[in-house]
Amino acid sequence: MRIGVFVCSCGTNIAGTVDTKRVASEALSFADVVYATNYMYTCSEPGQQEIQKAITEHGLQGVVVAACSPRMHEPTFRRAVEKAGLNRYMFEMANIREHVSWIGTDKEANTRKALDLVRMAVAKLRFNAPLFSSKAPVNKRLLVIGGGVAGIQAALDCAEGGMDVVMVERKQYIGGKMAKLDKTFPTIDCSSCILGPKMVDVSQNEKITLYAASQIESINGYIGNFTVDIRKKATYVNWDACTGCGACVEKCPSKKAEDYFNEGLGQARAINIPFPQAIPKKAAIDAQFCRQLNGKKCGVCAKICPVKAIDFEMKDTIVTEKVGAIIVATGYDLFDYSVYGEYGGGRYPDVISGIQYERILSASGPFGGHIRRPSDGREPKDIVFISCVGSRDASVGRPYCSGICCMYIAKQAILTKDHMPESNSYVFYMDIRSPGKNYDEFVRRAQEEYGVQYIRGRVGKIYQRGDRMVVQGADTLLGVQVEVEADLVVLATGVESSSGAGELAEKLRISYDQYGFYMESHPKLRPVETNTAGVYLAGACQGPKDIPSSVAQGSAAASKVQSLFAHDTIETNPQVALVNERNCIACGKCIQVCPFGAIQWKELRGGIKKAEVLQTVCQGCGVCNATCPPKAIQLQHATDNQILAEVNELCA
């Protein structure tokens, strides 16, 4: 084989601590190397032309580039050698930047290490063989998991583009957290007025199939060809028949069911339609509170229902959908404030969370949009807001900023003044985080026009005095302890990952961080992709986000899906496992260890069994390669021979 070596200086990034000229000149002495040179920026256009020129002039059959991480430029150089007529897999990259120049300052030692890495790359390249990808068809249907504003945006964008969309929502209604909000910052738009039309669009768009009250059971397959099992939970109401008339809700005698939509502030019926604009507007029975389902005599709803939709025998069902791409938009949950014993959360009825206050402010909320205290229904006069409850607090395992609380507190304080001009609002804050468009102006308005008192400091404790509460905190700007008497305390509970985020991630085979937020492929340059091809992220499942960012990400994920679906087929990655049938002893170990279910039995003539790799399912992890006793299964482009050649070179 005729091999050419190109050592990149990367300006001074590499040349600063590695003698790149010496690496190039010594590389000439390695086996099969017929050409070696050093270049300032090998990834630049003239740098790539240099490689292509050398391939033709020196008849090179393989190319080694010693430069940065292959994650940066391997695709660049593979394209470059392909243009010059080589197979793209007749190329190797030695990482002498991230692995050498950036981490050591000893130029002599760095140069020796760089030479080692180049020698290993050359040794591997001598065992490389041309590989060719095949084509797999793309199923142009999209699955959106989660029906909050991010998922709705993604689904509508793709449906607009003519794609079939399957939306799965865990709750019985779509709209997510935004559906619970009264108004949105910084424009004080009515939340349900701007979200409602989008929710209706979802239900009326022929391209969108909505599974509400459903969960993902399992996901198999790969980009372009996923098979998804969806568990439709028993709602005990036949939704095909239910018209959402609400007669059953009115007559239901079980009136003390948990009101999830109003965050426990009110009481719901056991059969319920959570809010007037709910999509789908269908009733569902909460089995925990239903009399009939708990062995008592009832069945009132079944008698009253004009379309006979009630079915107490209903069981969960599993439906299977085939899709080509998945957008995950599972949103977030809010921090459980009862962790803060000093705030009396959970004990004092008038210490509530921000989302509960949102329901109080809402006209469809438990008090019809009139601000009342949960304890005695009295109108509060002094309201204290406490920020960073479960945010920026390492002691409760939430060291990150939730990003939305500063803004929603300012909004709620402004709305409070609008509802009750005689009221006084106080905000305890540590820092104000308002980096969005018109956001800081909004917070300033709360202080300047609405007279909201901002106090810089955290709150140490809250205790009751008569029927009011005393909030004891600090004003760190003055260096004094302060007390505020309050009728109502609103805790700005922070954002945390959605419950069950981890289990879903395992089904999707995507990674998540220590707080349960899904990991994007690259924090800056691939913000909506995951490391699993064909799975994209939108909204707060990836990290705390406000509505504009969630919507933007929903559209961004949709555009990624549309560019995937613009192709009828996708090229498969040929760097997958391959079975040498002559050596396979049919022990089946590879089938057992494969985490992707990519290996199956194949029967040859005469009933001889052999392992067979499904090329499109294999992700190239190499577990089978390491397990196979006779080494019959080999991961292409990382075969035992290639790896041993590198090891031999390193130990030589």
């Binding site: 000093e342 960073c388 920026r392 607090d393 390492a394 002691s395 409760v396 540590m430 810089r456 400091g457 955290r458 709150v459 140490g460 404790k461 004891q472 905190g473 600090a474 004003d475 760190t476 260096g479 004094v480 302890q481 302060v482």
Partner: protein, 205 residues
Amino acid sequence: MERNNILSVQQSRDSDFIREVEEASGQNVSKCYQCGNCMASCVYTFAYDYPVTQIMRLIQLGQRDTVLSSRSIWLCANCQACTTRCPNNIDVAQVMEALRIMTRQADTVSQPDIQAFYDEFLRSVKTFGRVFETGLLPVYNMRVKKPFTDFDLAPRLLKKGKITFFPALVKNRKKIAEIFEVTKRECFSKAGKARPEPLSSKTDT
């Protein structure tokens, strides 16, 4: 303790002080982001010259003299409300304790009366195995030259049996005295130098 409204950040910074506090307390003071929760929770903020949030800030700025001469570190009752509430898991009470030890080592205790109480309290424990109030209070009063403070309370306390004329001795007093000796030895060997005794730090009941 004059407050100067202009502070030269570079010239007044004593980096050794920051390191000493961090080593003695085992806490990373740069974790403090000045939220004020310790000040909000502290029951003695009303009496402090510098609220505890500002003590933490002064340490971050390396203000040795201001911190070590402050009243606050001696008024601290070590109730640990600050430690419990700190969102950054800083053991603030331990920082205050470290500061008290540092002033003792440097012999710059700003509140000798409070130091005297610590000393006499522990001496009483060492001698009798538990506190003997009737002995402790007169001795303390004499030491701080306020012989009649709270004297008027004595008859009522006696009548209610809250104090007695004779110490209630515990079994094995020697063992308790030994704890003091062992602790003192360990502290000496750690510090490698003589210190004023007894040490309040490790033997505080």
